[in-house]
Symmetry: C2
Subunit: 262 residues, 2 copies
Amino acid sequence: MAALPSGVLGALDPTSDRAVFRQIADQLREAIDKGRFKEGAKLPSEAELTEHFGVSRMTVRNSLSILQSEGLVSSEHGRGVFVRPRPPVRRLASDRFARRHRDQGKSAFTVEAEAAGSRPEVDSLEVREERSTPEISARLGSARKVLARRRRYLMDGKPVEFATSYLPLDIARNTPIAEPNPGPGGIYARLEELGHRLEHFDEEVRARMPAPDEVKTLRLASGVPVIHLVRTAYDTEGRAVEVCDTVMAADAYVLAYQLPAT
Amino acid sequence: MAALPSGVLGALDPTSDRAVFRQIADQLREAIDKGRFKEGAKLPSEAELTEHFGVSRMTVRNSLSILQSEGLVSSEHGRGVFVRPRPPVRRLASDRFARRHRDQGKSAFTVEAEAAGSRPEVDSLEVREERSTPEISARLGSARKVLARRRRYLMDGKPVEFATSYLPLDIARNTPIAEPNPGPGGIYARLEELGHRLEHFDEEVRARMPAPDEVKTLRLASGVPVIHLVRTAYDTEGRAVEVCDTVMAADAYVLAYQLPAT
């Protein structure tokens, strides 16, 4: 039986009120938090943990399933249990919508993926006119029909985000915005060419557990929440010209904001 | 047997591949999303759903436990299953750290709670000197020992947030910042009086499932993730003067940011 690296995991506390399988989960969690098991590393096997703690295999499995439900580890069938990677993509909101990037014709997603050393990809693109929901209507003003642009973003083949942009039809219909490829700089560059110079964006960030269709679309592991981000773009006349509704795999992102103190 | 309000829930699709308990969960979820069951409303009882769909009580229970794991409903023992409230507190980051609020001596949390019509409260306050973790040291520069200020925030008696501020000892020791009550305007007002005029804040936002101690501290319902927010305050000389590590109940908050388009 292989021994564990010494000092990484301690002994159980027989005097503790805390159930044994929770004590084992606590020790493993602490070892992960402190970097003693690194991202992507394989945890000790069930047999090793059983031996080390002197408990049943069922107890060890219960401990591991706690960590799995917390999104800290994932079990790969027949291979073992691995420490899940921490969010690799830093999404810097204040930089992401800077006009200079639009001018260069690079999408914010491409810039972020490149910074994370990942291969960006977009699929499931769908552009259509549809009835607005009450929530989108409330944000866009009174638009009853909207142009909806749906797409999924992937990094290195893994889905990380599903986004839908909604635009008032009177702005978007019969323009490049309604084309599958709206051209360099994306729809924000086209909005500005159409006379809607952008002034600011509002972003609202929530987190929740995914619905089943989101688990499927983003291929989410168990215990991984989603970040639900709703962004509204305003032009210099104060009109809301786009609402972008984005559902992101929470394990793929850290959202970064810079706020002035004045 | 009480009938369901007509039209709120439809029939099952016998030709679908989708398991019956999932179809029922889908219908209930859609009815909640569309506001046919409002926040705080009681869902139809198990008996009513059993009758309506012509399925076993176990099937209905499986459907309800899906919605519970998604954080959409909560089961109150002996009373029924209720639609959970959506995030009530709008945390507007760009306004929250404005100097004018510090000058008025109101904490950002108090302002937000009042806007949400809730009674704010702070407990579990702890102020102490301690060794820094590698992560905090990396953010604060080289500080090996820090002043840590821990506190829990509650609204209407419900815990919503647990926050720890870390400050370099050479700045904070033997100042009002090390007192339980640092005085009007809080530690940011004191930092500025000590000559560290604030220039900007960086905020990093992640979401994940809670660890067991976080479930306890924030009294989280099942299926509720946490938002983990780490904010660093910089003075006009570019020095990091505080790191605030905050864990928030995701069902209590929507984070709002305003971003310039220029």
